[in-house]
């Protein structure tokens, strides 16, 4: 009996056990792994991915994918710089010289709008969410290429770049922001009616509807959240790099899914936690950092990452199987709730 409980505990917190194991592994193999500087670096690298994962987790909880997030990141990151920079070489901006504040407001509004479009197409027009966000992924990337004719835009605005390069003491601003957003996101998901409804919609949309939830409105809202956060992540990344290539963010979406799935957010919806997703982000980034310190070639790291994703998916598929078998075999409980 106790063995069962221990196994259950490990399985539900698997990601943290894995993380500890990985850290221990790298600490043994490489020098310099267990340093504050390294950990801060890991968090720094995790920040942009992390923000995207927050947004994706919101949609995944309702059982929906948002494949377009990486393209929204790319577009908004580019536009953010594009609006505030002068035109022509060497910066290649628009020349409109908007204030950073205005530019960022517009860019986030665009993120919201993309989310709205996704949400409406999926709920009102009833098109499959994979298909819609896939098409959006392509279209938005196309628009991004169009905006500056494929040319990279460079930012010389310290106000704009602060989000990527600023520091509060030894801690980079992106890390602080990323952690704050995670905390905020977690509070929303765990402790608000809104969050509860998301789980309900993902687990059984019809029953949620019959319980007074409005799934369509919520789904549109989570896509808007995902779009907004993708825009924010675009700002973060372009600020950090102080430039925005038109291919910025391309290919990131797979890592986003990987981190979410590894962290226990089910692709079917209705299950998982943001904390778990955070674990997934940290695991992927730690592995990347560790392999880097070991001077492993970038390409091996890529391949290994892909392998981890596959393994994570296999585990998730087996977990589904085990839980369906378990519910079928579960003894019908007869004990009473303690009164009082």
């Amino acid at each position: 009996m106790r063995a069962n409980r221990i196994v259950a505990f490990i399985l539900s917190n698997l990601i943290w056990f894995l993380l500890v194991a990985i850290v221990a592994f790298f600490a043994l193999i490489t020098r310099n792994f267990l340093t504050t500087a390294n950990f801060i670096n890991i968090l720094f690298n995790a920040s942009v991915l992390g923000v995207l994962v927050i947004g994706q987790s919101f949609t995944l909880l309702t059982g929906n994918f948002d494949l377009s997030a990486e393209s929204t990141l790319g577009l908004c990151g580019l536009l953010g710089i594009f609006f505030i920079t002068r035109s022509g070489p060497p910066l290649y901006g628009s020349g409109w010289m908007l204030s950073p504040v205005l530019s960022l407001l517009i860019v986030h509004a665009i993120g919201l709008f993309i989310g709205l479009a996704n949400g409406v197409l999926i709920t009102k027009m009833r098109v499959n969410n994979f298909v819609v966000t896939l098409a959006m992924l392509i279209t938005i990337r196309g628009v991004t290429l169009l905006v500056n004719n494929g040319q990279t835009a460079y930012s010389v605005s310290s106000a704009y770049n602060w989000l990527g390069l600023g520091k509060a003491g030894p801690i980079p601003i992106p890390v602080i922001v990323f952690l704050l957003l995670f905390i905020l996101g977690n509070i929303i998901i765990v402790s608000t009616p809104f969050g509860r409804e998301l789980y309900a919609i993902g687990a059984n949309r019809n029953a949620a509807l019959a319980s007074g939830v409005r799934p369509e409105a919520r789904i549109i809202q989570v896509y808007m959240i995902s779009g907004l956060l993708a825009a924010f992540a675009g700002w973060m990344l372009s600020a950090r790099l102080t430039n925005a290539m038109s291919s910025m963010g391309k290919g990131m979406i797979f890592e986003v899914f990987a981190a979410a799935v590894i962290g226990g957010v089910s692709l079917k919806g209705g299950q998982g936690s943001l904390i778990g997703a955070l674990g997934g982000v940290l695991l992927l980034t730690t592995i990347g950092a560790g392999l880097n310190l070991m001077n492993v070639s970038v390409y091996w790291i890529q391949a290994i990452r892909g392998l981890i994703i596959l393994i994570a998916m296999i585990i998730e598929a087996q977990k589904m199987r085990i839980s369906t078998l378990a519910s079928a075999a579960a003894p019908r409980s007869k004990t009473q709730v303690s009164t009082g």
Partner: protein, 506 residues
Amino acid sequence: MAESQPYFVEMKGVTKDFPGVRALSSVDFRLRSGGELRGLVGKNGAGKSTLMNVLTGVYPPDAGEIVIQGKSFSRMTTSQAKQMGISYVHQYSQLIPPLSIAENVFCGNLPTTRLGLVDWEEVYRQTQERLGRLGLMIDVRRKVEGLSVAERQIIEIAKALFADARVIILDEATAPLPKHDVDLLFSFVRLQRERGVTFVYISHYLEEIFELCENVTIMRDGNNIGDYPVSELTTAELIRLISGTEVERFHHALPSADSTSILVVRELSRQGAYNRMNMTLRKGEIVGLTGLEGCGKDSFARGLFGLEALGDGEVLLDGKRYRASDPRNALNRGLAYLPRDRHGFGIIGLRSIKENVTLPILSRLTNALGLLSQKKESDLVSKLIKLLDIATPSMAQPVQFLSGGNQQKVVFAKLASVAPKVLLLDEPTQGVDVQAKVEIMRIIDRLSREQNVAIIVISEEIRELLDLCDRILVMFKGTIVAEYHSGDPKMTVERILHAVEGTAQQ
């Protein structure tokens, strides 16, 4: 077409148990060789489908023997059943919609030319010819997805016949069909009967049994009550055989009903569902609503709750105009609904009892910051768990791990948390063990007496409605055809069943 055996199918002493219930109790069932149109009737849970599932090898019997064409089996596999000529045509389709009729008929078995390529000429020619021999003129190149439901069923029957089926089981074949389609299906079935095919026709529609069948077998509580030639039975007798006598289990104490009406329905009509519904519901009243599947009672309830369109007409809730655009709307106005499909629309299996119960009223359980208050939630949920006697180690238990009865109680708890004025319950005791059935009926009774909730109970269990309701309304093909009041000697199971079947009692 002389068969070597007098009986094509003999089921002897077949018993089948499921956890907690004996579905078949030493049942004998025989089908003669040479063709027959046999009706198979009985209430929900009487064992009709289970019997046929045992015959076709879906369930192995726990006792008894199956003899087909003289060969004896203690248990069968589905492929054996097919080989022995027994075929089950279900309500859901086993056809492939984007493909043609001909290709569906030959699915997995397409004839090929000498080169090994599909011989489409042959496919179409043979299908056309074989369907023609069955008496069917239809363009076999048409895609199945363009066919009506009746046509699809005919094709499925044809497919079974081409696989040399001698016994074809039709299970509730006509439920989704409009009248002229039923005629089409029946003509086809009769044609095949003349060729020596036996049909076992399972249906709730007694008038169809009388129209189509030669003999009828009646099941009740897992027993075969008997086989009768249809010509020797009147509808009344058939109904009496189906319903039998049962021990009383629960009695609703007649309330002194508050005379205020809470729900008024006027001339409510929705095409294809129900027609000119009129009713008045008073506070604390329990009204039963019954009828055959497809009579409109479910659409009516779902329409009131906002899960379906409501149609034309007027509804007043608590004196004010009412029309729910979605369930949230309905709940806000004080009307709640317990769905018939518990797993699809009732419970969220993956989530905990607590989450299920509080889902409709989350906004009421927040603190000053707008965040959910743990205390408010657990207080409410534990109160409801205690009130409804839900058996569970904790409120964090995912609902999917509870028994059927307890799951249903969770749905009740959820509805109770809303404190509705009007409650619509669709088959509240379905799929629930006997003990829990009584408990649920007590809960319904308490809600009406203590909370003055007006309740409509939709059910096909007339016995339960008699125990529970102040009034019973009967619907038939979309209209309310009868109303019975508690205390009226005319409110008997038989009379109600007549009304349900659409036959008048002499």
